[in-house]
Symmetry: C2
Subunit: 313 residues, 2 copies
């Protein structure tokens, strides 16, 4: 049985813990801060209760799932037996570089060492490392125990078998992996998010509509289809296929793309405008409650999605 180690246990680590434990794997957890480790375990405990309540633990009890988590006191103990190591350390290059040098002799030579980084390509912190062919990026969308997408991005020197084994493991634990053919800034998900955020800020800055209106355009409009279909399938079904759609609307979209080709820094006043509109909707003191609300909505709606996609609704 594949043994899992989690290195760096903030909120991302706590959610990863649940992903692996829910799927039946034994997981060791290590973080240099005991307080972070405790918080990650607390997060896993409370989230597993919510999942159980919604029948999203495949019939397991929360305590059964949580019993598979083993917090440990040092890095060596966490990783020396591990077959798959998911690293979720802070997003600072120097920290990751030092950590991977430390990991190199501690991890098994046939282990997979995957980073949760959203911003740093694996090549930037594994170049100097012994056995760097074990390493790659496995980027989750927060929180991974609710959002199944993971982006698998190999460094130029990542062994192909490492990519294959990672892909298979992710599917085994119920995540939905995509594979990037090479490293690129922002990977895929954050590049798509960047595209929409650029236009969102542009519309507000240019006085076309409010930030809340942009949110409505997505949450009551475009986003309803994107919950279960990507942009290409959406386009495909809005005509008789992609080619038909492009024949009809391609030149219109090219016109829009040219208008949208003015990259802008989000200015202080613009950010303040959006922040103010958001705080009117969710006061600062309610942010944490709203995050819990978001995660509950996600869990309930994913259950409904799973039912409808299986033909049970």
């Amino acid at each position: 049985m594949t043994k899992i180690a989690l290195v760096g246990c903030g909120l991302v680590g706590g959610s990863w813990a649940l992903v692996f434990a829910r799927a039946g794997f034994d997981v060791t957890l290590y973080d240099p801060s005991p307080a972070s480790l405790d918080a990650a375990l607390d997060f896993a405990r409370s989230s597993s209760s919510t999942l159980a309540e919604l029948d999203l633990l495949n019939g397991q009890s929360p305590s059964e799932v949580i019993s598979r988590l083993k917090p440990v006191r040092n890095l060596a103990e966490a990783v020396h037996h591990a077959d798959y190591i998911q690293e979720s350390a802070p997003e600072r290059l120097a920290i990751k570089q030092a950590l991977y040098k430390e990991l190199a002799p501690l991890a098994k030579m046939d282990a997979v060492i995957a980073s949760s980084t959203s911003a740093l390509p694996a090549s930037s912190f594994t170049a100097e490392m012994e056995g760097r062919e074990r390493c790659l990026v496995v980027h989750p969308i927060n929180p991974p125990h609710l959002i199944p997408l993971v982006e698998i991005i190999p460094a130029p020197w990542t062994a192909p078998t490492v990519v294959e084994r990672t892909d298979a493991l992710m599917k085994q634990v119920g995540q939905v992996p995509i594979r990037l053919n090479r490293e690129i800034a922002g990977f895929v998900a954050n590049r798509l998010q960047s595209a929409i955020l650029s236009e969102a800020f542009r519309l507000v800055e240019d006085g076309i509509c409010s930030a809340n209106d942009v949110d409505t355009a997505v949450a009551d409009g475009l986003g309803l289809r994107w919950f279960f279909m990507g942009p290409f399938e959406t386009m495909d079904l809005n005509a008789q296929g992609v080619a038909d759609y492009c024949a009809k609307f391609g030149s219109t979209y090219y016109g829009l793309a040219k208008e949208q080709a003015d990259p802008r820094e989000w200015s202080g006043p613009l950010i303040a405008t959006v922040e103010k509109q958001r705080r009117e909707k969710t006061p600062a003191g309610n942010l944490d409650a709203r995050k819990a609300w978001r995660d509950r909505c996600l869990a309930v709606l994913l259950k409904a999605k799973s039912d409808v996609l299986r033909g049970n609704a």
Copy 2:
């Protein structure tokens, strides 16, 4: 009671018919093609059955709803008593210009005349029209009986009361309107869609990942949050507010925006690549069935969303 007229009844008109009739309004329908009119009524009939089955007709029977639809043989008969006219004629400027000239003396001077156009600003086809202050764009996302967003876009000469009355009517029938402060190419929704499609095609063209991987990144990742939160709220909850998020990631996104500022025409070979990947997932002969599947998923998931947002799940 507000009387509704639908002018131009393709699929969009058929879905609009359901929106108004479901809310209890009497609706006259006119299309120059009797076959189109029949198809719109058939669409409304079959869709109302699906809605009833999913308990989305507020306890009304499909026949009760459909009984409010009255197809008529000429434009004058359709509109002369109408308080609100939703026009969904073909997206060709000359057709709309001629139609609005014809409508001008037939419609009441205090009627609202709203166009479903997704591409033409109202100023482009109402400039020469008598009583042009009655006109504006009310752009739905297809199909409006399932997707509540409507974009309200006044022409420079649209009377403010026309905008107000339209906004109120849309809320009354259960749609969710946003108001644009002025005309802009693509309005809001298609500009956001353009942004994401530009990047989607760029990723495929540059060999980063497959079209199916892009779809997965949305349907199993980003899109899960966008089903009930817009991009600004998503950002807000991924940090301690928008300002905090921008302080942490603003410069990263500016870097991505600069990379994404190369507008590209979607080339024939690129379109063929995406079309081929789509046809492997959904063969051409299955497209219509897949569209019906999409609408059924939408209806079921919107019911689940409505339940969770009301605290019933």
